[in-house]
Every structure is written in C-alpha cells, then in structure tokens.
C-alpha cells in the first residue's frame, strides 16, 4: 500500500520535473533563436531577452565612470561624421554636438544616476502586504488547526488549582504560600 503511494507520488513529481525542464529548455531555446547578435547593448531592466554576458557590457555605475563598451555601437551616418569631427579641435564643437557625443558613449549622466527613486515604497509596501497575509494565515490556523482549549485554563479550574497550592503550602518560606495570610484568608 505504502509502496504504491510512494510510486504514485514519485511518478507525479518526476512528470512535474520533466515538464518544468522542457519548459525551461523550450523558452531558452526560443529566446536564443529570436535573439539577434546583440553585443550586450541592453541596459534597461525591463528587457527580458537574454544578454550575452561573455562579451563586454555597458552599465551605468557611479563607481565605474568608463564602462567596458560604449553605449551606442551602431552609429548612423550623421553620428559617424560627428565622430570624425571629434578628432579635430574640440573647441569647434557646439554644445549640442558635445552633448550628442556624450550620449553616444553613455546612457545616463551622473545626475540621472543619482536621482532618487521610489523603489523603496514598493519594497516596504510589499513587506506590509505579506506580513498582513501571514496574519490571515495565522488566524485561519487559530480557527481550523489549533486543538480545543485545555480545561486547565478555565477560571474555575484555576481557582481550584490556586487553593490546592495554598493547601499544599507551596514555597511557604519565601515564595508562593509565604505571601498568603492563612489567619485572615487573604493575600498579605
């Protein structure tokens, strides 16, 4: 009987594992197929396609001013001519051209990297949400899982227990019974 159950469970688990493995394989191979040769020119976190991490990547980091590669790889004709102009005296470049050159090499400026984000609100909100959810789980457990309340907690039982302890003279010298005044029948 037990052996049959175990086999059944094992069968279920293995099929689940097999399904998950093929799922992973198919999605990754699909990703690979549709993934054009990309030199890692992906900086936004929303992009889900696989990035080739074996090649130099670009990233905006305060402590890495000059990343491994330029932000923009494929330059249009206008951009290429601007790059040529960069080889000459820089004083001949207009401010717009200088900014354009900067944006070719880099994605975010330091000011943009440093700007405050609201991510913490999402994190704290998420924490509260899951704590609240846990509270609901605990409440359900209290109602449906906990065994019945032991009768020793009833007031009547507790009173009788207290009387018994006094009758037994529990800790009569310095402890429990020493606090009870036996003549007057009350606490000292």
């Amino acid at each position: 009987m037990l052996k049959m159950m175990l086999q059944l469970i094992a069968g279920r688990v293995s099929s689940l594992v097999a399904r998950r493995a093929t799922l992973a394989l198919t999605t990754s191979s699909a990703r690979m197929a549709s993934h054009a040769p990309d030199p890692g020119n992906v900086t936004s976190p929303e992009v889900t396609e696989a990035v080739d991490m074996s090649r130099p990547m670009y990233w905006d980091r305060l402590d890495t001013p000059l990343p491994d590669k330029l932000y923009k790889d494929e330059l249009s004709a206008a951009e290429k001519s601007l790059k040529e102009k960069e080889k000459g005296p820089w004083s001949q470049l207009t401010n717009e051209e200088k900014i354009a050159l900067y944006r070719l090499s880099f994605h975010q400026t330091y000011a943009e990297m440093n700007q405050p984000k609201s991510e913490w609100k999402t994190v704290v909100g998420g924490i509260f949400f899951f704590v609240g959810f846990t509270a609901l789980v605990v409440w359900w457990q209290r109602v449906y899982v906990y065994p019945p309340r032991p009768r020793t907690f009833d007031d009547e039982w507790q009173a009788k227990q207290l009387q018994r302890m006094l009758d037994m003279r529990i800790n009569p010298i310095e402890g429990f019974s020493s606090k009870w005044d036996y003549e007057k029948g009350q606490w000292k």
Partner: protein, 150 residues
Amino acid sequence: AVRCAIYGSVTRGGPIGSSAISVSHVTRVALLVSPLASRCYSHGKVESDEEFDARWVTYFSKPDIDAWELKKGMNTLIGYDLVPEAKILDSALRACRRLNDLASAIRILEAVKDKAGPHKDIYPYLIQELKPTLSELGISTPEELGIDKL
C-alpha cells in the same frame, strides 16, 4: 603587454618601463615588496602622496595609451577612497584628447564631482585648477553643457 587586472595594484609594464613584469618573475613576494598599493602593511613600504600622484600622472601620460588602459585607469582611480589631484586629472584629460574621446573627458569630470561627495568645495577647486587645460583642449564642464541637472 600582458593585460592582467591585479586587484589593488595599478602599475603595468608601461611607463614604469624598467620594472616590466615579465611572466616568469611575477611572484607574490615581488608584488608585496614593490611600492605599488598604498596598503598599510606594517613591514612594507608605504607610498607617499607625491609618489602616488606621480605614478598616476605617469600612467596617463603614456603617449600611445589606448582606450582600455584609460578605462582601466579611471575606473581603478575612482575606486580608491580619495579624490584625484588636479594634475592626475589633467594627465587623464590629455589622454582623452589623444584618444579623441570627448565624452570620456566629460564623464571624468562628472565622476570626480560625485567622488567628492558631501565636500562641495573640492569640485569647484579642481575645475579652477583645470581651467587652463579645459580651455586649451576645448572640454566643456558638465555644468556648461547643462547635463549636471536632470
């Protein structure tokens, strides 16, 4: 030259030519004894500020410096717990000029301002020191281009 990113030490076989690190002689003992990293070894030699500055100025002054060396040097320098001296930055900006890379020059200025952190008077001082170089090479500061704001 062999491009090995020896963590913490910066010197390569370049301008400090005579101490060229040949493969057969790279031992841990050699690295510890040479005045490379200004680590606080009680037994090792501590590099002075002037030596540090001179070493970095020499690094960026290499006439045929390439883009990788510029990047590596700058990233390492920014990784240190200090704001580089004007003369090091001057050397780095000239290296950018040799590489025809204006964007990196502006980036270096941004990085240095960020590096100063709460000490707001360091960056204006550096810009003041670098003014001659900036106008000579035609480098605009991030403030002049307006990219220091959002």
